[in-house]
């Protein structure tokens, strides 16, 4: 067996040391009637065979190295410099586990500490944890943290209707067994008035997204006013954000957020069909003892040299058990390492450029699309890299045409999550989209609006 090094002689010697004649004896305490089931699994493949099979399976998927894509909605096609994969492919990093033994884990611990620092710089916050699972669970953890900060005296979470629909779903899944309420997204709030009205002396946390799920940007002043109103009512404010946007935009830490969450996939992690991603989680230092997830802290060793350790673990499940601030154990450490490597490689200038390119290209695309008959860019507010386009026919039909005729993966169909918007598409443009792709999209959208276009349901790749 390829990954098992024992020889027959080894096995014999080991069984002799144990005092058995057959390995079966080691399983004598397993109920006999259930022992050795006949598992119905495919016959084993060699490495050569499995690679062939996987190559074929992968080839059945339309991948974004071959297809132009304008799909975002929480997962984004941003540039990943080659150095990121080189770093996370180091066996010393990816085949280690949680740094329980800090003396032989300084590499990972320092990298994680640097991740915390760079994300603090990006978000304008004082403290950052080592990661949550993704942007959605980071939001749920923020809600639980806020209730803990409020000592369970406030138990309502007010969420904006333009917080990612999946984040709101995950939040509700998380708190279904707790005595907590989630409200706010039944409103059509777009200026925070409804959210502020709903905030009362039972509100633990208000959660908004900026840029929001529909791409809209709220000004720092609007955000500061929201924070002030929320704080005046004794509640906390969490802001879910886009780390790429923070390359140019004022960070939530500068407009009053108490907790900042984000989907960190955009920082050097591949799309990978939805995961593994990275839950970014930043907060004010005064709340550190109520925070969840691992934290890496700086300290010194016995010789007084700088070093790093996991710290404040009395909040965590392996120490505090049922009283822990969260049950999280394994997190997304390697994805956080990718984010750190990405931020280090891009640096101040690279990240700003990525954000600027996304802005310019998205705005160019919006201006062009707005001029097509039948289409309308419907944005009341400024936007960053995503925007809503009202379409002349169902989005699914248009997307099918784009894919079939132009090999373009179109935008996200908003009709299920935001039915009041009608036939509306959320388009995303990043630095990865060329002008040529955008111009093709514009032509394709123009053609797709015609009801005479025949739409073939079968997509062939």
């Amino acid at each position: 067996m390829r990954y098992i090094p024992l020889t027959d002689d080894d096995r014999r010697a080991m069984m002799e040391a144990i005092g058995i004649e057959d390995i079966d004896e080691l399983f004598a305490d397993v109920p006999a009637e259930f022992r050795y089931p006949d598992l119905q699994l495919p016959a084993p493949l060699t490495e050569m065979e499995v690679m062939r099979e996987l190559d074929m399976m992968a080839a059945e998927n339309a991948n974004l190295r071959e297809f132009a894509s304008f799909l975002g909605a929480g997962a984004y096609n941003h540039f990943v410099p080659a150095i990121v994969d080189t770093i996370i492919s180091r066996g010393e990093f990816y085949t280690a586990y949680t740094p329980y033994q800090p003396e032989i884990s300084q590499g990972h611990l320092q990298a994680a500490f640097e991740y915390q620092s760079m994300v603090a710089a990006l978000t304008g916050m004082e403290a950052v944890n080592a990661s949550h699972y993704d942007g959605s669970t980071a939001v749920a953890e923020a809600a639980i943290m806020a209730v803990n900060i409020q000592r369970h005296k406030r138990r309502t979470i007010v969420v904006s209707p333009t917080l990612h629909p999946q984040y709101r779903e995950v939040l509700r899944t998380y708190v279904q067994g707790m005595d907590m309420k989630v409200i706010g997204d039944e409103t059509h709030d777009n200026d925070f008035h409804a959210l502020i009205d709903l905030t009362d002396d039972d509100t633990a946390l208000v959660i908004v997204q900026n840029p929001d799920f529909l791409g809209q940007l709220h000004t720092p002043q609007e955000m500061q006013d929201l924070a002030d109103a929320v704080h005046a009512k004794g509640a906390l404010l969490a802001v879910a954000t886009d780390p790429i946007a923070l390359g140019i935009l004022k960070p939530p830490g500068e407009y009053g957020a108490d907790i900042v969450t984000a989907e960190g996939q955009v920082l050097g992690n591949s799309l990978s069909f939805g995961g593994p991603y990275l839950g970014i989680f930043a907060f004010r230092m005064k709340h550190v003892r109520k925070s969840s997830g691992r934290l890496v802290g700086e300290t010194v060793d016995a010789d007084g040299n700088r070093g790093y350790v996991l710290t404040l673990s009395t909040r965590e499940q392996h120490i505090r058990r049922e009283k822990a601030t969260s049950n999280i154990c394994s997190n997304q450490a390697l994805n956080a390492l990718a984010a750190a490597a990405y931020l280090a490689a891009m640096g101040k200038h690279g990240l700003r450029k990525v954000a600027e390119l996304s802005w310019h290209k998205a705005h160019y695309a919006a201006q062009q699309i707005h001029q097509i008959d039948g289409y309308e860019v419907v944005m009341d507010k400024p936007f960053f890299k995503e925007f809503v386009v009202k379409c002349p026919r169902p989005v699914a039909e248009i997307n099918r045409y784009l894919l079939e005729e132009y090999g373009i993966i179109g935008g996200y169909d908003l009709s299920r999550d935001y039915p009041h918007l009608g036939d509306a598409m959320l388009l995303c443009v990043t630095e990865m989209n060329t002008r040529e792709e955008i111009d093709d999209l514009v032509i394709a959208l123009g053609e797709a609006q015609s009801p005479h276009i025949h739409l073939n349901l079968e997509v062939s790749l």
């Binding site: 080894d10 084993p44 990972h108 403290a127 993704d134 509700r172 279904q176 997304q332 490689a345 290209k361």
Partner: protein
């Protein structure tokens, strides 16, 4: 210049690691009011970034470097073909919200993985959505809660957790809004049946049980435990952390477990990544299948297409999209290369290696094994109580093992064994390595008696000496940024 310096110390104004093209579209001005004043990220060149991380990596221990017998974590070899597979453009560069027609290959992989791990552990339905083991536990407890509520049994709020359980079990229980009730172990390391009977009432949602448990022992009364819980109207949650011991040996679903999470990053060889990402799929009986989080992958009735389906009484979405797909690709690759016979061999050798370790330790006599009268499964739990070296503790032994170039075992867990050393060799270690580790433990026992200071001050050969964890907790420094330029 030292490249393992703090990253901001390598920064110089004006450097950049990545060039990006100029805009190929007309520029649109960005309103001033939105702009940030400063972006305090480091400014580095790519050679600096490369050397910085390479040097950091060299200060890390890892399975690719040496023996890593971290109990309950199953630190087996991570096959390189898994990494190749997950990086195929058709897997790595696919957006989760694409039209299902364009991702049939990825969906078929998930569909087959759901079926294969369900078959391995004896469950009718599987959701791959949970991101890690603890996330799977939380999902499983929510499923149990939803099923009990659907039966109208609203009075149930207690979950029984053996005292040998991982901390995540009681923590997951609390997050679901329930009360964890601890059940003691008996003298053989099994769940104490009398204590279980006494705890079972109509307020009990169920039990969370790890089998083999964290003592490395198979719960020999498992069928009775499941029956008792079922008779009391409860459900049985299986913590699958230790599945590596029983693949092809026994299926938890056959024993009466109703819901279980898998740790793809333990049992199915996906790398641990320095603490993640993991993947914690949940398998359930047919009765609980309607409550699984979704969407999961299903096939049309015609059998010609994979589709997304959210089970009708789903507890809801537990994570965005479908779970840690990149981890699933690796686990799929591993299972496909092993087949039924290969997986059984994996478990048999994992258990053989652990018992060889246990037998040799018993023979050595320096590290007591409280349950050494039984064969263990994937791991054995010894104690750092070396006769004649009373001032030496498990922590000292662990730190001294670092000087011998081994990763220490899990220490001080499970909590019911004092001075615990929880050793899990896994099936991918050769006999020479296990022998070398045993030799090191043997030498350390002598050192403990003759020169205990050597242990108290260990490690001596690591990149740093023992770190001041008290100081880190008392005055937490979680972020260090350069002072703003004036």
């Amino acid at each position: 210049m030292k490249f393992d310096d703090y990253i901001y110390d390598l920064s110089s104004p004006g450097r950049t690691g990545v060039d990006l093209p100029d805009p190929d579209v007309p520029e649109t001005p960005i309103p001033e009011e939105f702009l940030r004043d400063d972006l305090p990220l480091p400014e580095l060149s790519l050679p600096q970034v490369t050397r910085h991380y390479l040097r950091l990596s060299q200060k890390n221990y890892a399975v690719d470097k040496g023996f890593y017998p971290l109990g309950s974590c199953t630190m087996k070899y991570n096959p390189k073909v898994n990494e190749w597979a997950a990086r195929l453009p058709g897997f790595a560069n696919v957006h989760p919200l694409q039209d299902p027609h364009t991702v049939q290959g990825a969906m078929s992989l998930m569909y087959e993985l759901q079926a294969m791990i369900g078959e391995i552990a004896g469950f009718d339905a599987v959701s791959l959505q949970p991101a890690a083991g603890a996330h799977g536990e939380f999902t499983g407890v929510l499923i149990m809660r939803a099923a009990q509520l659907a039966r109208g049994e609203t009075q149930r709020h207690k979950i029984l957790v053996p005292d040998s359980a991982h901390g995540t079990n009681p923590a997951s229980t609390s997050m679901a809004g329930f009360t964890a009730v601890q059940i003691p172990s008996d003298k053989d390391g099994n769940v104490d049946i009398e204590a279980l009977k006494a705890a079972l009432d109509d307020e009990v949602i169920g039990i969370m049980i790890t089998n083999p448990n964290t003592l490395g022992l198979f719960e020999s009364h498992i069928v009775e435990v499941c029956n008792l819980v079922h008779e009391a109207g409860g459900l049985v949650y299986g913590d699958g952390a230790n599945l590596n011991a029983i693949m092809g040996i026994v299926r938890p679903g056959d024993l009466g477990v109703d819901v279980m999470h898998f740790n793809l990053h333990k049992t199915f060889s996906t790398p641990h990544g320095g603490g993640g990402p993991g993947s914690g799929p949940v398998g359930v009986t047919a009765e609980l299948a309607p409550f699984l989080p979704g969407p999961i992958v299903d096939m049309t009735e015609e059998g010609d297409e994979y589709v997304w389906r959210t089970p009708e009484k789903s507890i809801g979405r537990i994570k965005s999209f479908y779970g840690n797909f990149g981890v699933m690709v690796r686990a799929y690759t591993y299972i496909k290369m092993h087949g039924a016979e290969g997986l059984r061999q994996v478990s048999e050798i994992a258990v053989l290696n652990a018992n060889y370790m246990q037998a040799r330790l018993l023979q050595m006599g320096d590290y007591p094994i409280p349950y050494g009268h039984r064969f263990c499964k994937h791991e054995t739990v010894a104690q750092g109580k070396i006769p004649g070296a009373e001032g030496v503790h498990t922590l000292d032994i662990a730190k001294r093992l670092i000087d011998y170039d081994f990763h220490p075992p899990t220490i001080y867990f499970p909590l019911i064994v004092s001075e615990a050393l929880m050793i899990e060799p896994t099936e991918t270690e050769d006999k020479e390595t296990i022998d070398a580790f045993l030799d090191a433990l043997d030498k350390i026992a002598d050192e403990a008696r003759e020169n205990p200071e050597l242990l108290h001050e260990a490690p001596h050969n690591a990149p740093v000496r023992r770190l001041d964890e008290v100081r880190a907790a008392r005055h937490p420094i979680l972020v260090r940024l350069p002072a703003p330029a004036t």
